[in-house]
């Protein structure tokens, strides 16, 4: 083999460079996994399992949005005797009342910026100018 002295170290450097994300994570910590807060009120049941909600809450919210606004289907869901009107402010935030500690924990970690809060009021925001009637 010609130029053995440069090719083999060069290949080794290349492999090291390509696998950088793998071994970098072995030696360093990639930041702690987020721990979204359980409902402060102690509610244990959601409309679906935690795994399902973790993976599909965004699709579910879109479905609810279309049901409520477009199809006029505002039917109140009843799961395990608890009533859930379809809606972010009407259902989700009633239990998960601290958006800053629940929603934001994962969204910040995953660097996603959902535009829900441009319009929808978090309990904290709503509480800042509570209607008195």
């Amino acid at each position: 083999m010609y130029n053995k002295g440069t090719i083999i170290p060069g290949l080794m450097l290349f492999v090291l460079f390509v696998t950088f994300p793998i071994w970098f994570n072995v030696f360093t910590t990639a930041g702690e996994l987020p721990k979204p807060e359980s409902p402060p009120g102690g509610e244990k049941h959601c409309i679906a399992s935690a795994e399902y909600m973790r993976a599909n809450h965004m699709q579910l919210l879109n479905e609810w949005r279309d049901n409520v606004l477009r199809d006029g289907n505002r039917e109140i869901l009843e799961i395990d005797g608890v009533k859930y009107p379809k809606g972010l402010q009407l259902a989700c935030l009633k239990c998960h009342s601290r958006k800053e500690k629940f929603c934001d924990s994962c969204h910040t970690y995953a660097a996603v910026q959902p535009y829900c809060w441009d319009c929808h009021l978090t309990p904290k925001e709503a509480g800042s100018k509570e209607a008195t009637h």
């Binding site: 505002r74 319009c119 509570e130």
Partner: protein, 277 residues
């Protein structure tokens, strides 16, 4: 060779004549077919338009929510309308801007001559000239805003007839504002939140860059409640709300009894808000 050329010219000539003549023949026979079918039927449909002047229409289908506003009641008690407007503001997190050019209007007040532009206000009675009229989205049966919307963010609900908005889809092009002949739509030129006095925590606010308008309180109707303005005038008969297509509804009873007018009926938008002046 000559023979073939002669044949070719004959066929070419015949084709040209056929090509020019055929469309004319098809058109002639086609028009008569249309005239006996498509075009005469709608004309016949218009003929029995006697009932409510401009509101004589084809047989109604489904639910069409509408409203009768009795301006005599508001003229006697102007504070009733203020109450209705503030109930609407509280229910829908409507911002209150100090500058009128930013105003967000769902239910608002306007003088007679700007509400009923096709009615003469010449020598009209004191009650007409001195009363503020209650104005809101007319929830037209044939809404021009819906036709103008490029994203279908505004649409007519098939179940209630409400001209609804999906703020998620609004791109803020304001075509609907240009299309609406009633000025019932407002644009958020800035973030409305700092100007919302009190929050209703069960309703969202809007964001900068979307259009908004009255939604006939669809969210309250779903809970079996009346619209906020109707509820605030309860017992006075100033605003009556119901299904215009239901012959037994309260609105229909009033429409049958009283002389009512609509805003700009000549435009053919078929407004669902009626006024007793």
């Amino acid at each position: 060779m000559d023979k073939q050329r002669r044949k070719f010219l004959k066929i070419a000539g015949a084709s040209v004549i056929a090509g020019i003549g055929a469309p004319a023949i098809i058109k002639l026979s086609g028009t008569s077919a249309h005239a006996s079918g498509g075009r005469v039927v709608p004309a016949a449909g218009h003929a029995p338009a006697v009932a409510h002047g401009a509101h004589g229409e084809e047989a109604p289908k489904g639910v069409r929510l509408g409203m009768v506003i009795d301006m005599r009641k508001f003229a006697d008690k102007p504070e009733l309308l203020d109450g209705a407007i503030s109930a609407c503001i509280d229910a829908h997190n409507i911002p209150q801007y100090p500058d009128k050019k930013n105003e967000i209007k769902w239910l608002w007040k306007a003088p007679f001559e700007s509400v009923f532009t096709d009615q003469s206000a010449y020598h009209s009675s004191k009650r007409i000239t001195e009363t503020d009229f209650a104005v809101l989205c007319n929830h037209c049966d044939d809404p021009p805003c819906v036709r103008a919307c490029p994203t279908q963010a505004t649409f007519k609900s098939p179940t209630t007839g409400i001209v609804a908005m999906d703020f998620h889809r609004c791109i803020g092009c304001r075509f609907c504002m240009a299309a609406c002949p009633y000025g019932a739509r407002s644009f958020n030129w800035q973030d409305p939140r700092p100007y919302i006095k009190k929050y209703n925590k069960n309703f969202p606010s809007r964001m900068k860059g979307v259009v908004e308008k009255c939604n006939f309180c669809a969210e309250r109707l779903a809970l079996g409640q009346e619209p906020a303005c109707v509820e605030s005038c309860k017992g006075t008969g100033a605003i009556t709300f119901g299904d215009l297509n239901d012959a037994k509804s309260e609105v229909r009873a009033i429409l049958d009894k009283e002389f009512t007018i609509q805003r700009k009926p000549t435009l053919g938008t078929k407004p669902s808000v009626f006024y007793i002046v």
